[in-house]
């Protein structure tokens, strides 16, 4: 079972400020007020996160809530002030500089909010850059880079420079670069925030397509709840550096653990989150007007159920597990509990 967890992060703190090192010894579990009084900033406070193999783990929160800092702790781009992080069973925080370089070269990839492409390299050279750094010869690395460039749909633009590309295209290059070494763990820090809403949508679809093909383990940051529920298997909500709740999107909306999470999810369209399995009732009817998948969101089946003459059957792997009728769907749509 331990093998299920790829990245295990326990009680991680990141504190900025002159007294960052000593403050944790003075207080056991300082709250933001205590940290502030000491002239420090608690960017990440006592974060516990287990990332499972093959899942999409989304971290969300408002600007400044510590999402980027947490992810940079997980990849050790910033040194956590306290805590432990194990990657694939290995203690990441005690890894030497050389080991760290090796892990990043082979096992981790990252996509950045502002794309972070190298301005002096072409698309192909940018994508091949991680291999170049590893000393792979030009022919091999360019062949591999070409494959990945094709994968993200940028064929024909291999010899463009980043500044000659649109934002969406630049981020495709960023994605290609992070995929070229086939990482086990893939970090994306608000990869689509710098893009227009339309392009963002398109890139999300593109991202889902890639993920269906590649089945990576993903840590994905966003401050956009719609984006989170579209993509996430599980969501962690952060506030002032602390994780408020970790749960599946539906769970988060239906059973908010704290006031803050409830407030955060209040304006989310529930139909997009709630799935058939949650509102189905035990089978009572003899005949059904049709059938829906138990994992489908209400939004996607609403028209179908409404148009039907009677209740519909809910199927799980071909077996009937319940039924769903108009009333239930309407309750969700108008937000009745």
């Amino acid at each position: 079972m331990t093998n299920q967890v790829l990245l295990d992060c326990r009680d991680v703190w990141k504190i900025y400020g002159a007294r960052a090192e000593t403050i944790l010894q003075e207080y056991d579990h300082p709250d933001p007020a205590a940290l502030k009084a000491a002239g420090t900033i608690g960017a990440v406070r006592a974060a516990n996160v287990q990332i499972h193999r093959g899942e999409i783990f989304v971290i969300m929160g408002l600007s400044g809530s510590g999402k980027s800092t947490l992810v940079r702790c997980l990849s050790r781009l910033v040194e956590p002030t306290a805590g432990s992080i194990h990657f694939d069973g290995m203690d990441l925080l005690s890894a030497s500089a050389a080991e760290l370089i090796e892990i990043r070269r082979k096992k981790m990839g990252m996509v950045f909010q502002q794309f972070a492409l190298l301005p002096h390299l072409t698309v192909l050279e940018n994508v091949a850059f991680p291999l170049d750094v590893q000393g792979v010869d030009r022919k091999t690395r360019e062949a591999r880079a070409r494959e990945v460039v094709a994968l993200v749909g940028l064929e024909g633009r291999e010899n463009y420079y980043p500044r000659e590309l649109s934002g969406g295209q630049q981020q495709r290059v960023g994605i290609a670069r992070s995929l070229v070494v086939e990482p086990d763990l893939w970090f994306l820090d608000e990869p689509f925030s710098a893009l227009d809403p339309l392009i963002r949508r398109e890139m999300q679809d593109e991202f889902m397509r890639l993920q269906n093909m590649l089945k990576k383990t993903i840590v994905f940051i966003t401050h956009d709840f719609d984006e989170a529920i579209r993509l996430a298997d599980r969501i962690a909500v952060m506030k002032d550096g602390a994780i408020e709740q970790i749960a599946a999107p539906e769970e988060l909306v239906l059973n908010a653990a704290t006031e803050y999470v409830a407030e955060f999810t209040r304006h989310v369209s529930r139909a997009k989150v709630i799935r058939a399995k949650t509102i189905m009732s035990p089978v009572t009817s003899e005949s059904f007007a049709g059938e829906v998948d138990w994992h489908a969101t209400i939004e996607s089946i609403a028209d179908q159920v409404e148009a039907a003459s009677g209740p519909m059957r809910v199927l799980k792997d071909g077996e009937t597990v319940g039924q769903i009728d108009k009333q239930a769907v309407i309750d969700v749509l108008v937000g009745r509990k």
Partner: protein, 660 residues
């Protein structure tokens, strides 16, 4: 708020009144109390700094010993390392390669022909940008050939080609070291600050003593002068690489070295090229000065003509330097803003068409040159000399406008220069120290006030009080005039885009001219003296005043101007009530730059007979008195540091008050 203003105004009025009174009556005071120390720092208390420094240098040259080699060996090794490539370039560009010495010398290979040099220059310019720049560069180089400056120009070119790479690469490496280690940065920073403010002349003397008269000493001095900006630019450029790009480099597993050379330096390269451009311009700026310690070429021609008062020759050689500066400046700027070029595939010829063309032209002219000397060397009888023309033109101006010039000179001297001079030179040294301290304290805090007093005390104790006051007076008047002329020009440039392009373009060109060049016409028209010095300084220091003013006005946020317009301000009110107050921090920084340039130019104007610190340095140079030169140089640097800190503090204070 109101109370603060009155208190502050009162302070300034009182400080000025006391200073003025003491300055006016210092002589009477001295007579009344029979205390000569009031006007003159007592000789017996003067610090023998000069002789200490001279002794230290003597010791270095004669005795210093590092385990296995002496200091002499070290300087000789450096000299040899510079001499070798320099001689090679001289052979390549002008002298040709020979074996044997003296009468038995056998020519092995000729130098590059003038045609080849021009062609290569044009191709490089084209490679950097386009054919238009190529044409400009071609014309500039052709000018050198046609007007008979070729030989000197190529000697200068050889030293530029040595000094620039050393300065750029050295600066880059030092900058990288400082970027990597905060400790190194901490050590470098004050040195860089000092280097920027110490006049070049001050270290010409020690360089002369360590390396002897000749091109090597000149190159060493040039590199010392041209390198500091590159170090600064490198540090800033590396720090400015976006954090995400650095993180991207770390995430793909770059080692420290890969990080530096594959990520940071290439990402920062446009900014780094700006530094290289600075190195080039400073190198050219040094051309004339360096000829005082043995650089030949155009600089030597200018200097020799100036000394002979050969007007035509001076202008001709000076123009040649200007032309070279323009070509090199434009080409290096084009490299800085040049995007990355497209990739070519195929054979070497296909991939590098321009390199191949260059080699073809070089080989071709080499062959043809054997039979047609005109291809090898530009024919003597086709050169045009403009010397007599310039001499005649200046003479004509002098004959016809002598009275007008004299009148202007007299008015400015009587009305402005002399009263200010009297005021500054009259200030008794003891009060001068206190007044400077108060001045700096009020604007930049007590720490700076204390430092200013220490600096001024050092100056008095070195026996240079009088000359320092002359320096401050000349600098002050020049900066005042440069601001009075420059700021309105800057405002004009900012308000009227079309005029702005012309004005700012002109300022760009003015800045590419080596400082020395300003002296030539001024001396021709006004002869030697404070007035000529002032005009040259004003011309040289004008550019930053204009530029910062224009920049500051343009930076004023658009929504504030809109708010003003909506409140019904007239354009005049918008300018005076909104734009100018908000632009004051920029105006102050422009003032700072103007002061720095004025101080550096003042040292050069010593050649036209001012009696300030510049003259002191210049005398030291002619007597090869290192101690005297360095002490006077330090005094200039101290004034510059005080001015720099105080103006910066004022700008910061203003910015805070405006909430920017």
């Amino acid at each position: 708020m109101r109370r603060w203003i009155t208190w502050s105004t009162g302070f300034w009025v009182a400080l000025f009144a006391v200073t003025w009174a003491l300055s006016s009556y210092s002589f009477q005071l001295y007579k009344a109390f029979d205390a000569r120390w009031i006007v003159r720092f007592p000789k017996s208390y003067e610090l023998p700094t000069e002789s200490w420094i001279s002794a230290l240098l003597d010791w270095l040259v004669d005795k210093a010993h590092f385990v296995v080699f002496t200091f002499r060996d070290l300087t000789r090794a450096i000299a040899a390392m510079i001499e070798l490539p320099y001689q090679f370039l001289r052979n390549l560009l002008i002298e040709g390669f020979q074996s044997g010495i003296g009468a038995e010398a056998v020519q092995i290979a000729p130098s590059l022909s003038w045609v080849a040099v021009i062609a290569v220059a044009v191709l490089i310019a084209h490679f950097a940008k386009d054919w238009r720049l190529g044409a400009l560069t071609g014309i500039c180089f052709l000018y050198l050939a046609v007007f008979g400056q070729w030989a000197s120009a190529m000697v200068t070119m050889a030293s530029v080609l040595i000094a620039v790479p050393i300065g750029a690469v050295g600066g880059l490496l030092l900058g990288i070291a400082a970027y990597r280690s905060p400790l190194i940065e901490k050590c470098l920073r004050p040195i860089l600050d000092l280097m920027q403010t110490v006049p070049v002349f001050a270290y010409l003397v020690p360089v002369l003593i360590l390396f002897g008269f000749g091109p090597v000493a000149a190159l060493v001095a040039t590199v010392i002068y041209a390198m500091p900006p590159m170090v600064r630019v490198t540090i800033v450029a590396l720090k400015a690489v976006p954090e995400e790009i650095k993180e991207a480099g770390r995430m793909v597993g770059c080692t420290r070295r890969q990080m530096m050379w594959k990520v940071l330096v290439p990402s920062a390269s446009p900014a780094l090229m700006v530094g290289v451009n600075q190195v080039i311009m400073l190198t050219l700026n040094m051309v004339i000065i360096a000829s005082m310690i043995g650089a030949g070429g155009l600089g030597f021609d200018v200097l020799a003509s100036l000394r002979r008062l050969d007007i035509g020759g001076g202008i001709e050689a000076g123009l040649a330097i200007v032309v070279m500066a323009i070509a090199l400046d434009r080409v290096s700027q084009a490299f800085a803003s040049r995007g990355v070029h497209e990739h070519r595939n195929g054979t070497f010829l296909k991939r590098h068409p321009w390199t191949s063309t260059s080699f073809a032209i070089i080989a071709g002219t080499l062959l043809v040159g054997q039979f047609m000397p005109a291809v090898q060397t530009y024919p003597q009888d086709l050169t045009i000399t403009t010397g007599p023309f310039w001499t005649a033109a200046i003479e004509w101006i002098n004959v016809n406008f002598f009275d007008a010039f004299e009148a202007i000179k007299l008015v400015v001297l009587q009305g402005l220069l002399l009263p200010v001079k009297k005021f500054f030179t009259g200030i008794p040294w003891a009060w001068g120290i206190i007044a400077t301290g108060l001045f700096a304290w009020k604007l930049a805090g007590w720490r700076m006030g204390l430092m200013a007093m220490l600096f001024m005390a050092f100056i008095s104790a070195s026996g240079l009080w009088g000359k320092t006051m002359v320096t401050i007076y000349l600098c002050g008047v020049s900066v005042f005039l440069a601001s009075v002329i420059g700021i309105p020009l800057g405002i004009w440039a900012a308000e009227r885009p079309r005029a702005g392009r012309v004005i700012l373009g002109l300022m760009d060109t003015l800045q590419t001219l080596p400082s020395f060049v300003y002296l030539i016409p001024v001396v021709m028209l006004f002869r030697v003296g404070d007035f000529s010095a002032m005009i040259a300084v004003v011309l040289y220091a004008l550019a930053p005043a204009v530029r910062y003013a224009a920049f500051g006005l343009r930076e004023v946020p658009a929504h504030l101007i809109e708010a003003g317009r909506m409140a019904g301000c007239t354009p005049r009110q918008i300018l005076f009530r909104i734009k100018l107050p908000l632009a004051t921090p920029h105006l102050l920084l422009g003032l700072n730059q103007t002061i720095m340039l004025a101080l550096s130019m003042l040292v050069i104007t010593a050649l036209v007979g001012t009696r300030d610190l510049g003259q002191e340095v210049y005398i030291a140079l002619t007597k090869a008195n290192a101690g005297q030169g360095i002490v006077a140089g330090l005094c200039v640097a101290f004034i510059a540091i005080i001015a720099d800190r105080v103006v910066h503090a004022a700008a910061d204070g203003q910015r805070r008050r405006l909430g920017l």
